[in-house]
């Protein structure tokens, strides 16, 4: 028996709303990695500290894009800030997002002020742009650097609770919907924070390996191994939280248990059980465990860490899909399920999603051309052919 309320045949929140928490998760995760270096003094993360901050910034720039594409009236988006309705969880979005954006932009500015000043010398449009960026103050002495450093530390510290707020808040948007049994759990926002950190670390590892390979840079072993260990730890917490949620759902045997059990066994079986848990959680868990506990050849360890990061990036995307779409598949009549798969070319379809997701990487490249995001990268020695 499959009955859904007639208005539920249309799924309201599309793949754009899957992408939105995914991208904000990458922001929060990348930011936390940079703060591990700036605030908690994890020196081995230095090679990636700038890159992680820049990643947080560019992802943040694009985080609202899927939302704007989704809104029926994007031209009224600012109504949320001009006429906020504070009983709504969503009303806080603009403020939280805005303040976080200011903080990350300021932190980047202070971290890279020296580099902007270096680029500001000479003529040409780029130099002019950099001069404007440093507000025509090209003072760069040990004393100014020291002051910048202190400010960065403060901002990075302040940013941690704000990053958790930004992403925990996204989880809360779903977790507070009492009408939806698949969403309504107070654990939702903790799950979202941890999965955000997992996706953030994963995207940094993934990207670091790719750019190092392209540029023939030497990979910093300490940095990668440390990231691998963090990833292992955070993914364990993230997956454990989700499993706890499932366990209590199954054990409590409430009205929702039947319908949600059915959801997991049928509509979400492939994307949730097979892909999210089996392939993309269990496999990286084992692989990262091996790299953390055993001494492996460097190449093997790198390969395992990189593969794990790819799988975990996918895992978090699947998690967002299973939450956002999965929750809407269950009818509020508790008697059936609807269907959804995005079209390829439609406005909120797959091509749009892919484009939105690739844009930040392009911007990161431009950023890197402006100031180096890997200032300490060493070139691998040239291997001469025939030598």
């Amino acid at each position: 028996m499959n009955y859904v309320f007639p208005n539920e045949l249309h799924v309201t929140w599309t793949v754009m709303i899957v992408l939105y928490p995914y991208i904000t998760g990458l922001v929060a995760g990348s930011f936390i990695v940079s703060s591990l270096y700036h605030v908690f003094g994890q020196k081995e993360l230095k090679p990636i500290a700038r890159f992680s901050l820049a990643s947080a910034f560019v992802f943040l720039l694009f985080a609202t894009m899927p939302l704007l594409i989704h809104l029926g009236h994007p031209e009224r988006a600012f109504n949320m800030m001009i006429t906020p309705h504070f009983t709504s969880a969503m009303a806080g979005f603009g403020y939280i997002y805005g303040s976080y954006m200011i903080l990350v932009a300021l932190e980047i500015w202070f971290v890279m002020r020296g580099d902007f000043i270096a680029r500001a010398r000479g003529g040409g449009p780029v130099a002019w742009f950099c001069r404007a960026l440093v507000l025509f103050n090209t003072d760069d002495t040990p004393a100014t650097r020291e002051a910048d450093h202190r400010i960065v530390k403060f901002l990075a510290g302040l940013g941690i609770p704000l990053a958790c707020t930004l992403h925990g808040y996204v989880g809360f948007l779903f977790g507070s919907i009492k009408a939806n049994p698949w969403w309504a759990t107070p654990l939702m926002f903790v799950i979202f924070i941890f999965s955000a950190i997992v996706s953030g670390i994963s995207v940094l590892i993934f990207h670091y390996f790719v750019v190092s390979r392209i540029n023939r840079w030497k990979i910093d072993a300490e940095c990668v191994k440390s990231l691998g260990r963090y990833l292992w730890g955070f993914m364990m917490v993230a997956v454990a939280l989700e499993l706890m949620e499932l366990l209590s759902l199954a054990y409590e045997q409430t009205e929702a248990t039947d319908v949600l059990g059915h959801l997991i066994r049928t509509r979400l079986f492939f994307s949730y059980v097979i892909l999210q848990f089996m392939l993309c959680s269990l496999v990286p868990f084992v692989m990262l465990g091996i790299t953390a506990l055993f001494k492996l050849k460097e190449r093997t360890a790198y390969l395992l860490i990189w593969l794990s990061s790819c799988l975990l990036l996918l895992q978090v995307l699947l998690m967002r899909w299973n939450v956002v779409v999965g929750g809407q598949l269950v009818s509020k009549s508790m008697r059936g399920f609807t269907d959804y798969f995005p079209g390829i070319w439609e406005k909120e379809g797959l091509i749009t999603a892919v484009v939105i997701f690739t844009l930040p990487f392009g911007l990161l490249y431009v950023f890197h051309r402006l100031v180096s995001l890997f200032p300490d990268a060493e070139k691998l020695p040239e291997i001469k052919s025939g030598a």
Partner: protein
């Protein structure tokens, strides 16, 4: 010059400060005392709805009337009628009529032991969670207890669609804003009945003022046992159902 400037600014602030209580008195006091546009002593109505399930014959005249009155976009529903059929083995079959109504077979081939129809619509909840979650306040409760959407302000985020536990909202594909039952607000403010109530040939749908003890609805609710849908959601629906079976969610 800067000095003059400062003086004029101070004067401005003083004037504003003096003006504020006057403005407050002029705008707020009459509202507090007389309730806005009402005459003194007149009580504002509190509109609500009732469905006598045992009277509904599933003709779907209400759905057609609603569509005609409110220009509801195809594929979406401000109100609908569910058909429940219970088999001998306890299995429950539920379906909903297409726009033209249900298809009835002359001789049912299934072992149906019980069947009934349940009209559904927005419950105009007293604690409407849809209004609570609207980030811009475009979803709101009118002073008469009718839950409405300001189409000029709605951003079309769909949060209210997710939040309503009854599936009564949708995003209108034409206006790209939230759509829902308005209890035919344009009619009821003129003292007319909602289109669905007027169209129902069996009087299964009722509308009235809860504040008026002599209204048809108040009398009906005093005489009959009723319940609301999903009371556990804490939304305090104002659509009351009599003779509702346990199967209905």
């Amino acid at each position: 010059m800067p000095c003059d400037d400062r003086i004029s600014r101070r004067q401005m602030i003083k004037r504003l400060a003096a003006g504020a209580p006057v403005a407050l008195l002029v705008t707020v006091f009459p509202r507090l005392a007389f309730g806005g546009d009402r005459k003194p002593g007149e009580k504002r109505p509190l509109y609500a709805y009732a469905v006598d399930v045992s009277r509904c014959i599933g003709c779907c005249a209400c759905m057609r009337a609603c569509r005609a009155e409110n220009d509801v976009p195809a594929g979406f529903f401000r109100t609908w009628v569910e058909r429940f059929r219970v088999r001998g083995n306890g299995e429950v079959l539920v379906d909903v009529a297409a726009t033209d109504g249900f298809v009835f077979k002359a001789a049912p081939d299934e072992d149906i032991v019980k069947a009934f129809f349940v009209p559904k619509l927005c419950n105009h909840c007293e604690k409407s969670v849809c209004s609570q979650v609207c980030p811009v306040g475009a979803s709101y409760e009118s002073p008469e207890g009718v839950v409405l959407v300001d189409k000029k302000h709605c951003v079309g985020c769909g949060y209210c669609v997710q939040a309503c536990p009854y599936g009564t909202r949708f995003i209108d594909p034409v206006s790209h804003t939230a759509g829902k039952c308005t209890l035919c607000y344009h009619r009821i403010v003129r003292g007319e009945l909602p289109a669905c109530v007027l169209a129902c040939p069996k009087g299964a749908r009722m509308f009235g003022d809860l504040h008026d003890p002599k209204s048809h609805l108040s009398i009906f609710l005093r005489q009959r046992r009723y319940r609301v849908l999903k009371p556990e959601m804490g939304t305090h629906p104002k659509c009351y159902y009599t003779d509702l079976d346990l199967e209905v969610i």
